[in-house]
């Protein structure tokens, strides 16, 4: 419809297009390709976080755990049990959906800091299970030689470029789903909960149910990200499920912009680059990144995309407000009916 005139949509498309060209530029640099593809996997999980934190306003600290479940489902099933990647992938999706839904049963009853601490405990239980249940997960020796996705004889996903495009397509679908949710009454429901649970309740929103579904959806996206992470990297250890992973995701979403469509992607790419930049300092990187996180929430809580979007909104709204006013003046005594309403809708769209 009018989507292509929206600067936000254009911006998102430009970012995606640039990203799609990565293999053209770096196709022969395996290391860079791998770093970018891992960044895309994280971005998928961050989109999951966006649904629960960005849209619904609940800080979930279990995302690293769900990422780990996805990674280990694929890692263990394709090696120890010799499943194909795609059936293991399906198992990862179903597994995270079920665990997300079940923990959501409790999560939906809690809110605010209780929700955050509850999810942190869920994440930690997942991590402890993976790092201690040696007979199944191999604990700290990790899982080696995770299978590549099967291409059905047509595509070969063992090359970095093919793998990149596979994850990229999954990411595209994720971005589109986020976009669709954001614009529908489902998105409106979640945003209502974010602003005020009491008011949401008062206008008939089923707060608990919506939170539970949002949580389950975020868990599934976490699992999907983790599943692809396992196959991209080929080797996974308990770190894939650690609480640190959650905090990494948190930083991605914070830099990009919570509750925006393009934010998780932009944030993931920028922070992935930053992490690489601080590669030599490894563990010390948080001496710089820790204060950056704090400065961001204090001074720039809306993130890069949030600020750009806010700027665009402000300009657009000014125009529309003026239009609505002048329209009201020109027909101050006109009786209202539905044609009037649709006419003004039309007027608004053509702006």
């Amino acid at each position: 419809m009018n989507g292509l005139k929206n600067p936000r949509v254009i911006g998102t498309l430009v970012v995606l297009l640039l990203l799609a060209l990565t293999p053209v530029v770096f196709g022969n640099e395996n290391y860079i390709m791998r770093v970018v593809t891992v960044g895309l996997c994280s971005a998928i999980a961050v989109y999951g976080m966006n649904i629960i934190l960005g849209f619904t306003g609940q800080l979930s600290l279990a995302q690293g755990g769900f990422f780990g479940i996805g990674a280990y489902a694929v890692g263990l099933l394709t090696t120890d049990y010799d499943w194909s990647f795609w059936s293991a992938f399906a198992a990862a999706v179903v597994g995270t959906a079920v665990i997300g839904y079940l923990s959501g049963l409790i999560a939906l009853r809690t809110k605010d800091e209780y929700f955050a601490i509850f999810t942190m405990a869920i994440g930690f239980i997942i991590y402890l299970t993976i790092s201690r249940w040696e007979s199944v997960t191999h604990a700290h020796s990790g899982v080696n030689n995770v299978k590549f996705p099967e291409g059905g004889g047509i595509l070969d996903f063992s090359t970095p470029t093919a793998m990149f495009y596979l994850v990229f397509v999954v990411l595209l679908v994720t971005v589109y789903i986020t976009f669709a949710i954001r614009r529908s009454s489902v998105g409106r429901t979640l945003l209502t909960i974010r602003t005020s649970e009491d008011l949401a309740d008062a206008i008939g929103v089923s707060v608990g149910m919506s939170k539970q579904l949002a949580f389950a959806a975020s868990a599934v996206l976490g699992g999907v990200g983790g599943a692809f992470y396992a196959t991209v990297v080929g080797f996974i250890g308990p770190d894939a499920a650690s609480v640190d992973k959650t905090f990494e995701f948190l930083m991605f979403i914070l830099v990009g912009g919570m509750g925006t469509v393009a934010g998780p992607l932009v944030g993931s790419m920028i922070v992935t680059y930053l992490f690489e930049f601080f590669q030599d300092f490894q563990a010390y990187r948080f001496i710089v990144l820790g204060p950056i996180i704090i400065a961001l929430v204090i001074f720039a809580p809306r993130g890069i995309v949030g600020y750009l979007g806010g700027f665009v909104d402000k300009r657009n709204r000014k125009k529309r407000v003026e239009a609505a006013r002048s329209e009201a003046n020109s027909k101050s005594s006109a009786p209202h009916d539905t044609t009037d309403a649709s006419a003004s809708t039309h007027a608004e769209r053509t702006k």
């Binding site: 800091e113 601490i117 239980i125 402890l128 905090f247 948190l250 010390y284 820790g290 929430v297």
Partner: protein, 288 residues
């Protein structure tokens, strides 16, 4: 039976440590309405600073804990002033994210200074006592005694001293406290400082038993959160009871079932409590 008594004392000692850590955290929540996710990293820093003064500088054990507690007290004040104060009008998620940033920063700093390897802190307190046939290490007795003394002092401080009373007043009714002329910013700084001080005492006491590492605060962090949720966020008696209940549950399951179960028991309890009562067991009824 001997084993049981032995483990009971171990449980009490662990409970004392949890208690010192949990009280500060629950006070901070009561006064600032912030779940300070960086609390565990303050514990870790407290242990390292104690270690530094004891081993590197070479002051006596008790003095090392005292100096470290003061250092962390100041750090707590800084944390409130620089991180939480600017966020006091932000959505609650922002505090938690900022606290996480602080946590990572503290861990990275500790790792930069002392390295990622485990360190052992020698205790000057050696020997053990025999109680009902069980052998209890003197360090554990010291922990229990110190915890009781510090708790008594803290209760006295809150009930009797002006500063303490302002903290209690602010915890109970923030608007009311502001109306009677209590400076909420001062109280907030004091409370965070106090929580860092208490958790440092806990760290200094337990450091000789456990090993030091930059991530030593992570699991304590979650356990202490489990405790204060169990006891009701902001409730002092709840935190004390919760600490000992959880500590004894942990030592007993580790002894009689397995250490892995002991490790997760805190989180299982937490999840179970939230499933039954989403706002904690002893929390006051909140009117909407």
């Amino acid at each position: 039976m001997t084993l049981f008594i032995q483990q009971l004392f171990n449980g009490f000692a662990l409970g004392g440590v949890y208690c010192l850590a949990a009280i500060g955290l629950t006070l901070v929540f009561g006064v600032l309405r912030i779940p300070n996710l960086a609390h565990g990293s303050l514990y870790m820093l407290g242990a390292y600073v104690t270690y530094f003064f004891l081993t590197t500088v070479g002051v006596p054990y008790v003095a090392a804990i005292g100096i470290a507690a003061l250092v962390l007290f100041c750090l707590g004040i800084l944390l409130e002033r620089l991180v939480f104060r600017p966020l006091q009008n932000s959505p609650h998620t922002h505090h938690m994210i900022a606290a996480i940033g602080a946590m990572f920063f503290f861990q990275a700093v500790a790792q930069a200074i002392w390295g990622a390897d485990f360190r052992r802190m020698e205790t000057p307190i050696s020997g053990s006592l025999h109680i009902l046939g069980a052998e209890i290490s003197a360090q554990r007795i010291v922990i229990i005694v110190t915890a009781v003394v510090v708790l008594a002092l803290l209760t006295w401080f809150i009930k009797r001293s002006i500063h303490g009373q302002t903290i209690e007043a602010t915890e109970q009714d923030r608007t009311g406290a502001a109306l009677v002329g209590i400076n909420p910013s001062m109280v907030a700084m004091l409370t965070l400082g106090l929580s860092a001080l208490l958790v440092t005492i806990a760290a200094g006491l337990v450091a000789p038993i456990n090993l030091l590492s930059p991530t030593m605060g992570d699991s304590l962090n979650l356990k202490v959160f489990a405790i204060i949720i169990l006891g009701g966020l902001g409730s002092l008696p709840g935190a004390i009871v919760g600490s000992f209940v959880l500590a004894i549950a942990e030592t007993m399951t580790s002894t009689y079932i397995s250490s892995a179960v002991g490790e997760v028991i805190a989180f299982v309890v937490l999840v179970a409590v939230l499933a039954i009562k989403p706002t904690g067991l002893f929390s006051k009824a909140v009117q909407r």
